[in-house]
Symmetry: D2
Subunit: 358 residues, 4 copies
């Protein structure tokens, strides 16, 4: 499995540089007979685009997926589903001054150390635009999961230091999530965070955030014990997002301060747990309770403020980043987190079919 | 790649149940010509055994590795290195009462939901004893890494809510780590945490912890962009440990509350960074700075206190766990975290060899 | 690795149905810094197209590759190279009568047994058109191999029962191969075979063939011992071609009738062998001698003659296949055999880089 | 997947050098709940041992498998099944004179070119003794296949140029196969071939052979289209055997001389074919007819005759091979061919479970 593919049975490979001709993906291993259309993909691509308000990117291109293969008469064939999204609106001149500089907080320098050279335009392959392919693939996985009743939902649980209410709080609203530009489950929190982010952006700065995710109706036992555990794979999926710096499941880091008697989840009847401190996964296998985790994202590294760095000759220099950039990844990260979660779950659903002799 | 194997070029597969005849591993892909002996493995197995004081397990068996293949005249052949460790000291009667019960906080129930039945003795394959194979494999990886100057070090950074000092603190001592039973870098913190853990154990309870790890002298560019990023693979490796509930790199979760201008790491000269908030990885590639991350472990789930659960018939019942159990995974988790880190790095070192045409 | 991808480090995945919007491939793992253009790919696509004379297909579309990613300023980036080839000239009405019938000698019925339904147009994914993606990927592999001096050549060694001369025969001409429509290394043999094939086609019938291949300047030791041997992988690559029914290396099937003393290849100096009965591979590793093998292809299954079969209702019926079909795969199989060989060798070249500690 | 492992879901990795402490395997992915004992494995190991008469090895050790993991209370757990077979009867002194020489027809020289050094004793990892692990794994696969009614049978179809009768011939007897030391289906042919081989051995020479194999009761659609076709994987499995030089399916090489109208297999009712020239596989998928193929093996390379070769210093020298060696691989190859076939089929049976949405 190369660095650009993911999954064992429900596999995805993404391709494309930010300012090359196109981005996209191939999904291989999606079972045959699933109703699927480009609309299923475009819906999530539109959510990824975001683009409203001060917290989002100003790159306004509309992403339209073309399904090149794998679907016939509205159903998946069992063959690779190739999805193509053209890059319509590149403005490479914005990047001319970056050609010989290494942006702080970016992969520019390590990339060049690895490969000897790089496509500097918009970060090339290391751009967030690469997630177009992930979201397209995840949309296919979500259609598959929906066909067996599994639902994946993510939201911004914190942005610019402003926390959203927890799900048990009355202020938490599932319906609100897609109603505000930050995808927070509470309008008041969203307004407050948006204000803070606007101010940061005005100062040429950016903000971090956390995104929380849950998956419902998972059959118990999903995940492959030992290395390919459900939480191990989810962690891998999330940390494969450029700006992610951490993940925790269930009680997470707080569990390190607790005691066993308080944190042990126990069964009250088969598949029904008294508590869910584990976040729906024990020993790497889904418990039947909701899968729950939170991902920490650092502030966007492309900021308008002047920054110090070095150039290709190793000389110190000052950097001014032009171009269109988000000040916080939160709203766009939400559909990407959902997409990656869906890809993991779809794969484990298929792997689960081999667990028993019959 | 099945659920029990890990790695692309430097691969490991582990085998064995806690109370079966043996545990062990096969390492496939270790390059030829590396000096290696059973001692290199036994040294880390002895560290994994721990077993001193109130915070550790009382299972006292000495683990001795037998190298079954892959080494000839003291050097690796390039063929699979199979390592066998016999289970010498099982006391399966301790587990008789667990046969038809599902222990809270354990994988018992999901395992049975997946496979239809299970080896209940000591958790079977879901036991921490499985990490013997990981530590053996990791020891081989560490010998390989040492041959190119790479060092991996882990320590207990928090236990039972007691934090160890940071590395910049005078109280932090590298030498102290292996001197106290908790593997903390400060005797005072270790004593305090040990006392707390003893009290918890006396109450039939257990404690959580965090383990921090760093790797030095990594060449820049390690990691495969997009899905198989360095931090993604490390995250997968760490969350594949049964009790792990979270991981963060560099500034980690705190980064979600910070601003870009404060967190962006910038170069002062090639490979030399002003700060290392990223924890040594940007865009999934090593930066040349130290790789740094912290893993959160939940309290040990096997506690002596009476707990409520259900039996195979779905009836509520009370559970009393006998047997020998740690009250905190910290000391034994340290060499396991090092082992898994070494396995990831060894694999990426080999993958790096294919990055360029010549 | 799904059924549609191939390779460990130099990987390819192909996509596309015969009469869908497009076919193509992604190559992942091609090292960075390799000069590459669409011309390098189009050259081999043109060879695959063939289309001259009575032995080839009449489907006349010109295949033009668009490189969607992975190449910047004329060099490979080390990122996935996606190649798109539009299907320009489909005539799906030719296939209307095949919708509910299962063509003899084709995968129609097993495909439907596996997936529940199929794209019947031109065989869908089971069409020879899928090899466009292979040839495009193989062209990239060949550019990489050429950069280190490795050459791969294939030719039609037998067609319609007419054998080409062996390489030691004066009649064998490397230059002739690309000069005649059958890609035979001797004009007289080619003429004779072409005549036979024309007659078969006139009778609504088709012919089988063998294609031979060699690779020069391989470093010794290529191949991974035990399962992923050089010859094992080549065999897998060749039998993955729809019409292939057999393969032999070096002395091949004749070796089964010989004696050890006559067939054992021995060294006369390091890397120089007295004979090459092994076909350049011993114990699964390249010997430094030329890699040599021959693939047997069955006659094209799509024949114009009326044939008996059954329909979806299980009733016996008569089948008449319309559309444009080769009467012998030979000329088009040659570049496909070369492409697959190149893909195998490029992968092993990269794997070889991990064989030793330093 | 490293060079020493095989399979996607039903995976095997083998380990061990000929004269190291042990050989064996791990099977990962065998579904849970399969009744399995060491006897199931030992039965096939005994068949592999062969050792009767002039055509077989004189190495007389009895191979006894110890199951180290993965089986509990007589059933597979779904965890890795590690199988250990100690090397009891090595006579390494026989190999002292080979330390600095490269045996003709062996992998000695390419191995050293790859890895820099080698375990010369009995060929090390390149020894036929490595197949112990394959046969052990294959035995597990066969138990799984038997549980769903699939049967795999192989036999010596030709040895030392003496052909066994075809299955339609009255002289062919399934019962005879295991009754004669060469595993031929006809006593007369076996006697004749045995005589020829004895004479060759007396002259210090060796003989080649072919082994044929069939599998019955395969569900249709087994195999993954495009690269991981059923016949592609079988070909890979067979050519991964050290002495194999070719393989053909169904009509095989003869098909290259035939015409489509004569060779096309057609359905007479669903799953029932008029002919089986394809050998049970079309487009890489099982057809429901018997899977049929034949493997060509070269004569054993270790012959007693004096041979010319070079030493490590590159000087010409004469070689005399001592030790115990078969004069023909036929009898021992039969269970190995069955084992590898079973491993392929078990894997595809599991992969098949993911073909459709439901």
């Amino acid at each position: 499995m190369g660095g650009n593919s993911f999954g064992v049975l429900f596999q995805v490979i993404t391709f494309g540089e930010s300012h090359g001709p196109a981005v996209g993906c191939i999904v291989d291993g999606c079972p045959a007979g699933l109703p699927l259309s480009a609309n299923d993909i475009n819906r999530d691509l539109a959510r990824r685009r975001g683009g409203l308000g001060g917290s989002s990117t100003s790159r306004s291109e509309k992403d339209e997926a073309e399904i090149l293969s794998g679907v016939y008469e509205g159903k998946t064939l069992g063959t690779p589903i190739a999805v193509l999204v053209r890059n319509k609106d590149p403005q490479p001149r914005d990047y001319d001054n970056l050609k010989d500089l290494y942006r702080p907080g970016h992969a520019d320098w390590p990339w060049e150390a690895k490969y000897g050279f790089r496509d500097h335009r918009g970060g090339g392959r290391a751009s967030a635009r690469e997630t177009v392919g992930r979201v397209a693939a995840g949309a296919i996985a979500r259609v598959f999961l929906a066909s067996i009743g599994i639902e994946v939902r993510a939201w911004t649980s914190e942005a610019a230091g402003v926390s959203a209410p927890g799900e048990n709080d009355n202020a938490f609203s599932w319906d609100e999530i897609e109603n505000n530009p930050l995808r927070m489950p509470d309008k008041a929190a969203a307004d407050s965070a948006t204000e803070t982010i606007k101010n940061l952006k005005a100062q040429g700065d950016s903000a971090g955030c956390t995104v929380s995710c849950l998956a419902r109706n998972l059959p118990p036992g999903l995940g492959e014990p030992v290395f390919d555990k459900l939480d191990a794979r989810i962690a891998s999926a999330m940390l494969s997002l450029g700006a992610a710096k951490g993940i925790e499941f269930g009680a997470g880091f707080a569990a390190s301060k607790g005691r066993g008697s308080a944190l042990n989840d126990s069964l009250v009847s088969p598949g029904i747990w008294k508590t869910n401190n584990a976040g729906g996964v024990l020993g790497g296998l889904s418990t039947g309770a909701e899968l729950r985790f939170t991902v920490a994202f650092k502030p966007v590294s492309s900021i308008a403020k002047s920054q110090e760095t070095i150039n290709r000759q190793g000389e110190k220099t000052e950097l001014l980043i032009h171009g269109r950039h988000d000040a916080c990844v939160a709203p766009r990260a939400v559909p990407v987190v959902e997409a990656m979660t869906a890809l993991v779950l779809a794969d484990f659903i298929l792997l689960q079919r081999s667990a028993r002799v019959s």
